[in-house]
Symmetry: C2
């Protein structure tokens, strides 16, 4: 399983992913699910992947091949809008899935993969897209300015409470970490390290791309403070009527 | 959809359920998903239901019919252990499902329902059981002393953090309310009012059976305090290294 989240705020983008993959419960490994593409000062794309690992790796390979091929009709270098890029990734994904779908179906598996694409092209706005296994895609809304793929439910309540379009970028990043931490506590198939990408709007390159091990003092401090803060919030809840006598 | 949670602590049991049911998105109604059975000073059962409403209603009807029938070979009045009661409910559920499974499958639906049964029989311990649609069942563990059915993921992180076997009963009830509140915020198919049952061990009858409307001053105060407490916890998280200059 996987958990990836992308947040679009007025100041820019935050994208975060875990790094655990598993085939069944007895073959667990660590893979990056965050892939960065682009040309500084021109365009920047961050792709998050969930679902069938062979499909998502093949899509990344095809993206890179098209980038190498200066005659390619479409590549992340040629698209004019971010939604063109989402469309392109969706097409690659469908093509890869079609190649293996029947064989996988026969063995009871699925070739499906989902993607989140975030980024900006010079002269356009920054944005995030969720690309479904069927190749279609949606962007986030101003009211719910985040997208999730993979094991998304455990980590959604805190995003629902905190994230707004005017949330500062660093707060959005902290919220993504809390969301991932909650998910890792509740589902062992989502695991460290956490990759975190910061994009300040109009920079056209990543400001930061951090790999956070759970054993870093920062991450441990964050987990402890969050846990303590939640307990304090819990202990501050009103008593029931019948507890007052 | 539905969300029900049962918590077993040393002092007793807390069971909570939402009240929303829906067929598609355009037929939404309010049904109780909590059913109480028993004989004071002798035995007490609380049944929570999720899944196909026709199945769970039929199971409750059959339980009541068996209770009325003094010659019934098995009923909630005759079982000797709580796991016998879980087994009995599982058998009723399978029987009801079999009667409609084929017709429902043809129309692309499912007759499946899940149950949580909590309670105590005189002379035995208090306990909770989750009864799967297949009729088999599990109890909670001392390390994870809660069970959930329905839309369980949004509300699990707070249970994971707070609930232990030695959690006081009123704290367990507050935690169940927070868990339900988080779920209702993230999934509109889970909705009010909330039913809450308190059982103090060895009482052999319910101490309280409350129906909480979201508009009560208590519930509003709880939601506000929890929201404020979460925000305070979030604002207290450590700054990133690069924020310190």
């Amino acid at each position: 399983m996987t958990y990836c989240v992308a947040i679009k705020v007025n100041d820019g983008l935050v994208l975060a992913s875990d790094s655990r993959t598993n085939a069944g419960v007895d073959y667990v490994s660590t893979y990056s699910k965050m892939h960065v593409f682009g040309t500084p000062n021109e365009r920047l794309f961050v792709l998050l992947t969930a679902g069938n690992l062979a499909t998502s790796q093949a899509v990344v390979n095809l993206i890179n091949r098209d980038l190498d091929d200066l005659d390619a009709k479409t590549s992340l270098n040629t698209v004019e809008y971010l939604f063109d890029a989402a469309h392109y990734v969706g097409e690659l994904s469908c093509r890869v899935q079609r190649g293996h779908a029947e064989a996988l179906r026969e063995s009871g598996s699925s070739a499906e993969a989902s993607f989140i694409l975030g980024g900006q092209i010079h002269g356009r706005g920054h944005d995030i897209y969720l690309i479904y296994p069927q190749g279609n895609y949606i962007s986030a809304s101003p009211e719910t300015p985040f997208l999730q793929i993979g094991e998304s439910k455990y980590g959604k309540p805190i995003l629902d409470r905190i994230i707004r379009s005017d949330t500062p970028l660093n707060d959005a990043a902290r919220c993504a970490l809390v969301s991932l931490d909650s998910t890792m506590r509740s589902n062992i198939s989502v695991g460290p390290p956490i990759e975190l990408a910061f994009y300040k709007k109009d920079d056209l390159e990543l400001e930061r791309h951090a790999l956070l091990d759970l054993n870093t003092p920062f991450f441990r401090r964050m987990q402890r403070r969050w846990n303590d803060g939640l307990r304090r919030a819990f202990n501050g809840l009103p008593r029931f009527e019948w507890e007052r006598d």
